[in-house]
C-alpha cells in the first residue's frame, strides 16, 4: 500500500475533533485547536477505537469558511484509502438581491414610461430581455460545489456539482499525474491562484476547482493531500528551468 501509514493522519484529526464538533458546527471550525484532555484517554483505548470509527464514519473532520466559500475535508466512506475535499460556494445574498433589484428597477422604469409617457410597448419587451440577459450574466452558471476524491490506489476524480443537480466527473489515473502545482494566474483584470495537475503526455494541465476559484488558503490543503497521494515532495520552488 502506498504511503505506508498515510491512513493514520486523518484518523488523528478525527480523534482531536470528535469531542468538539458535530456536523452542524462545520461552518465555523478553526484549524489548530489544542488537543482536549479527554482525547488522550480516548486515544489510548484499544479495540474500541475501531468500533467508534465505524460508528462515527460519517463525521466531518475539518473545514474552513470565508465570505464566499466553504472548504470541507470529508471522510465519507469507511475505507481508509479515500480522501474527499469539497469546496462549496456560499450563495451571496447581497449579490442575488442586487441583481434582482436592478432587474426590477429597469422593468419598473420601462413600465412607467409605457403607461404614463405612452412610449412604445417594445420598450417593455426590450427591458424584459435586458433583465433576463442581466440575470444570466451576473449570476452566471450556478455551480454549487466542486469536489476532489483522492483514491491513492487508483487516481483522482474531479467533480463539479451544479445547483440543478447535474454532476460532471473527470477521472485522472494516479500514474498519469506527474505533479500537483499551485500556480498564480494573471488576467487583464485580476490575479488568482489555481491548483493544477501536470498530466503525463499532455501539454495542458488539468485545473482542480476550475469554476469556483477558491482562495489559496483552501487550495493549500488539497495540494498537500494531492502531493501525499502522488508521493510528490511539497516543494515551493518556483524556478523555471
Amino acid at each position: 500500500m502506498k504511503g505506508g501509514r498515510l491512513w493514520w493522519r486523518p484518523r488523528l484529526q478525527w480523534h482531536v475533533y470528535m469531542m468538539e464538533f458535530w456536523p452542524s458546527a462545520v461552518d465555523n471550525t478553526v484549524w489548530g485547536l489544542a488537543v482536549p484532555r479527554g482525547c488522550l484517554e480516548l486515544i489510548t483505548m484499544g479495540a474500541s477505537i475501531r468500533k467508534m470509527m465505524l460508528f462515527f464514519s460519517r463525521m466531518v473532520i475539518f473545514s474552513i469558511s470565508n465570505a464566499r466559500y466553504t472548504y470541507v475535508h470529508d471522510q465519507k466512506y469507511p475505507s481508509e484509502d479515500v480522501d474527499i475535499h469539497h469546496v462549496v460556494s456560499r450563495r451571496s445574498n447581497a449579490k442575488y438581491l442586487f441583481v434582482h433589484a436592478s432587474a426590477l428597477l429597469v422593468l419598473a422604469c420601462a413600465l412607467y414610461l409605457y403607461v404614463l409617457k405612452e412610449k412604445a410597448i417594445s420598450l417593455v419587451y426590450y427591458s424584459l430581455l435586458f433583465d433576463i440577459f442581466l440575470v444570466n450574466l451576473l449570476l452566471g452558471k450556478p455551480v454549487k460545489k466542486e469536489s476532489v476524491v483522492i483514491m491513492p490506489a487508483f487516481g483522482v476524480q474531479l467533480e463539479t456539482h451544479y445547483v440543478s443537480g447535474k454532476v460532471i466527473r473527470y477521472f485522472v489515473p494516479i500514474d498519469k499525474i506527474l505533479k500537483p502545482v499551485l500556480i498564480e494566474c494573471v488576467t487583464p483584470v485580476t490575479c488568482y491562484w489555481t491548483l493544477s495537475l501536470i498530466i503525463r503526455g499532455e501539454s495542458e494541465m488539468v485545473l482542480v476547482f476550475k469554476n469556483l476559484r477558491p482562495p489559496v488558503k483552501m487550495l493549500a490543503y488539497v495540494w498537500k493531500a494531492l502531493c501525499a497521494a502522488t508521493d510528490s515532495k511539497e516543494e515551493t520552488c518556483t524556478h523555471a528551468e
Partner: protein, 477 residues
Amino acid sequence: MHNDRPDLYICTDHLLVYSIKHMTPSVCEGDMMDDSQKHRILMVSDFFYPNFGGVENHIYYLSQCLLKLGHKVVVATHAYGNRSGVRYMTGGLKVYYIPWSPFVMQNTLPTFYGLLPIIRTILIRERITVVHGHQAFSTFCHEALMHARTMGYKVVFTDHSLYGFADVGSIHMNKVLQFTLADVSQAICVSHTSKENTVLRSGLPPEKVFVVPNAVDTAIFKPAVDRPSGSEIVIVVISRLVYRKGVDLLVEVIPEVCRLHPNVRFIIGGDGPKRVRLEEMREKHSLQDRVEMLGAVQHVQVRSVLISGHIFLNSSLTEAFCIAILEAASCGLLTVSTRVGGVPEVLPDEMIVLAEPDPGDMVHAIQKAISMLPKIDPQAMHNRMRELYNWHDVAKRTEIVYDRAFKCSNQNLLERLSRYLFCGAWAGKLFFLVMIVGFLLWQLLELWQPADDIEEVPDFTLPCSCDEEMLEKNSVK
C-alpha cells in the same frame, strides 16, 4: 579650454542628494536609521525583458541591487508574445507580464482606466508600499502611477530620456507628463541635464527631482588582457543606426579621418534605417577594407566588439545619459563623443574628448584622442569606472529617494485635485475630471471586490537546493 562641467557628487541646495562617499557622520547616522525601513517596491514600465534596451537594463539591475539590500521588488509590465503571467527571475525577482498586448512601439494602448483593476490587485496582494514608474514614454507607467496615487500609495518616477519642446509629439508628451507628475512624490533623472529638461517640461518643483545616474555592470565589461597591438588604431562605433544617433555625422567624419590617418580603421556595430547611408559612404570613398560593418550586435557580444578597439566614438544628437560610453570606458576605451544632453556629465576629462555635433569639430576631437592614446591605461580606467558607476551605489541612492517619498505627508483628494487644476487653462479641468472619475471607479471596485477578498501572496524564499546552488555560484564569483 577648460570644461565647465558640474561635479557629479556636488552637494547643493537644489540637488538634495548626497553621495554615499561624501556623507558627513551625522547624515550617515540618519541614513542608518532610514536603512532599518524595508520597502516593497513595484516597478512599472512598458519596457522590460525580453525586450532589450537601456530602460530594461536599468530596471533589472536596480531591482537586483534593491533585492540584495533587503527590499522586496516586483516588476509589472505587459505581455511579450507568449510570455504572459507570473515569472521569477534571478534572486526571486517577480515579474507580472500582464496580458495587455503592445499597441505601438512596445507601448500598451492608452486607456485611462483599463489598468485600474489589475494594478489594484497587484498592489494589494503584494503589499506594495512604493510604486516606481520608469520612462516618460510608457503609457503603462503613466496609468499605473495615476491609479497608485488615487489609492494613496507613494509614487516615484524615473525619466530616462530627453524630449524637445516644440514639435507636436513633444508638446503632447509634456502635457501628459505634467498631468502624471503633478501628484508624484519624488522624481529621479539620470543626469543634471535630464533633470533640467524634466523640470521645464512637467513643472515639477526642482527640489522634488533627484539625480541618480545610470551605471554599468563592470563585472561584464572588462578590458582585454592584451590590448590590440600594432600600429593600427581601431575606432569602434556601436549604436542603433538612426537619425537620433547622429549617423549623418559619421558619414562626414569617417572619410575625413581615414584620409588624415592612414593607420585608422573603423568598426561599426548596429543596424537601422541609416545603415544604407554608411554603406554608400563606404562605396563612394572605397573604404571597404578600412570600415567594417558588423550589423546588429547582441548585447552579449558588445564587450568582444569593444575590446577589439582603442577609441569609442559616440555621435548622438541627444542623450539624457549615454550608457554606451560607460560600457566603453569600463572596457578601457578612450571615448570621443558629441557634447549633447547629459554626456558631459558622464566621464571625467581624461577619459573623454568632447566635440560639438559638427563634422569638423569631431574630426579634430578624434585627432586629439589619437594623440592621447599612448597615455591611456585600460585597467586603470576600468578600476576608475568601477568606483564611479556601480549599481549598488545607484540602489542606495534610490533607497534614499524612497525614504524621502515616505516622509512626504499624505494628501486627501481635494488637495490633489486642486493641484491638477493648475496644469493648464482647459487641460487642468480635463485632468480634474479624469481624476474624479478615477476615484469613483476605485470606490466602485472597492465595493465590487473588497480589498479583504484579495489574499496576500507569500513572499518568495529560495528553497534549500536553490540556496546551495546560489551559494556555490557566489563562491565561484
